[in-house]
C-alpha cells in the first residue's frame, strides 16, 4: 500500500467515526430531548385575557393559526387579567382563571408543582400578569351549553398589580 493510499484510508476512517459519533449523539439527544422550559422561554405575545378570548370568539380558525403549533409547542403568552377563580387540579397544580365580568369566557391558567407557590399571594379580584403556553382557545360549545375557556399551562406569575 502506498503512503498516499494509507493517508486516504486514515482520513476516511476518522471521518466515518466522527460521522457516527455526531449521528449517534443527535439520535440520542433527539430521543432524550428535554421538554421546552416555558418559564425560561421568550414571550411570543403579550396581551389581555379579554383580547385573547375575543380573538378566539371572533375568528377561531385565524386564532388557532396564530397561536397553535403543529408539534404542540404552541405560543408562549403573557396575559394580563382579573383573577376570577382559584382552584386545584387532580395533579396538585393550582389553576387561576383570568376573566373580566363583561366577557363570556376567560383564560384558565394551570401552574406547575414548581410555580404553585406564587399563587398563594394572589386573591380573587386582583389584576395579575401570568406567563404560560397556550393549549386551546375559547369557544361556545353547544354540547356543553357553555363557553370553553382558553387553556394555558406551565404558568408562572410575572406581575401583580396593586390596587389603590
Amino acid at each position: 500500500m502506498t503512503p498516499k493510499k494509507k493517508k486516504i484510508l486514515k482520513i476516511g476512517a476518522i471521518l466515518l467515526i466522527a460521522g457516527l459519533l455526531i449521528g449517534g449523539g443527535t439520535v440520542l439527544y433527539m430521543f432524550n430531548m428535554p421538554h421546552r422550559n416555558v418559564q425560561n422561554a421568550s414571550v411570543d405575545f403579550s396581551l389581555s385575557a379579554s383580547q385573547l378570548v375575543n380573538e378566539y370568539l371572533e375568528n377561531p380558525v385565524k386564532a388557532n393559526e396564530k397561536y397553535l403549533s403543529d408539534d404542540g409547542d404552541s405560543k408562549i403568552l403573557e396575559i394580563t387579567g382579573t383573577v376570577a377563580k382559584i382552584s386545584d387540579d387532580f395533579n396538585g397544580q393550582k389553576v387561576v382563571l383570568l376573566q373580566e365580568s363583561s366577557d363570556k369566557a376567560g383564560v384558565s391558567c394551570t401552574y406547575t408543582q414548581e410555580t404553585n407557590q406564587s399563587v398563594s399571594s394572589i386573591k380573587i379580584g386582583e389584576k395579575v400578569k401570568i406567563k404560560g403556553v397556550i393549549r386551546s382557545g375559547a369557544s361556545f360549545d353547544p354540547d356543553l351549553e357553555m363557553y370553553d375557556n382558553v387553556v394555558v399551562e406551565k404558568s408562572s406569575l410575572i406581575q401583580q398589580f396593586v390596587n389603590f
Binding site: M33, D70, D88
Partner: protein, 188 residues
C-alpha cells in the same frame, strides 16, 4: 282581596322554595384527569391531561367531555411532538376531542343519595375530526354534594384514522390504547 294577595304571596314563597330545592341545572367539572396508556412488548407509553371540561345533565343523563388535545403530557418531549404532529393527532387542525353520550340507566342512579352506581353510557367519540359510536361503562360516586365519575375504556386508533405502517411508531405504539377518565363535578 286580602285573601287573594295572601294566596299570591304563598304561591310566590312556595315557588321560590321549589326553585332552590329542585335539581339546579347541569353539573359542571373542570377538575378532570384523562390518561391514555399504550402497552407493547417494546415499551409502555402514557400521557396525562388535566384540563378537560365536562358536564352532566342530571335530568336527561347527557354527558359531555371536551378535551384540549395539546394538554396531553408525555414523559418524553419527542413523543409529545409526534403525538401532536400531522401524522398522529394533528392537534393544530383538531385542537379538541369530544365525548358526547347519554347515561342509559339514569333511573338506577340517585345523585342525591350517597353511594356508588354503575352507569352505562352510549354516544359518540370524536377524535381528529372522526366520529365513532361508543358504548362504555362508568362508575358514578356520590358523597355529600360531591359527584365524581370514573371510567376506563379502549380506543382503537385506526378507527380514527391514526395508523402507522412502518418505523418506530408502528412497533412501539399499541393498536388499541386504554383511556382512563376521572372527573369531579359541582352544580353549575
Amino acid at each position: 282581596m286580602k285573601k287573594v294577595s295572601f294566596l299570591v304571596s304563598i304561591v310566590a314563597i312556595v315557588s321560590t322554595l321549589f326553585a332552590f330545592t329542585l335539581p339546579a341545572g347541569k353539573l359542571v367539572s373542570s377538575k378532570t384527569h384523562i390518561k391514555f396508556f399504550s402497552h407493547t412488548s417494546v415499551e409502555d407509553i402514557q400521557a396525562n391531561n388535566y384540563t378537560s371540561v365536562s358536564t352532566i345533565d342530571p335530568t336527561t343523563g347527557d354527558v359531555v367531555f371536551s378535551v384540549p388535545m395539546q394538554s396531553f403530557e408525555f414523559e418524553k418531549a419527542l413523543m409529545q411532538k409526534h403525538f401532536n404532529g400531522e401524522d398522529f393527532l394533528d392537534t393544530k387542525q383538531f385542537p379538541k376531542a369530544k365525548l358526547k353520550g347519554k347515561i342509559t340507566n339514569l333511573a338506577q342512579i340517585n345523585l342525591e343519595k350517597d353511594g356508588t352506581y354503575q352507569a352505562n353510557v352510549e354516544g359518540e367519540l370524536t377524535i381528529k375530526g372522526v366520529t365513532k359510536p361508543i358504548k362504555e361503562k362508568g362508575t358514578v360516586t356520590v358523597k355529600g354534594n360531591k359527584i365524581s365519575v370514573q371510567s376506563t375504556f379502549n380506543v382503537t386508533l385506526a378507527d380514527y384514522g391514526i395508523t402507522f405502517v412502518k418505523g418506530k411508531p408502528a412497533s412501539n405504539i399499541a393498536k388499541t390504547v386504554e383511556v382512563t377518565v376521572h372527573a369531579e363535578y359541582q352544580p353549575e
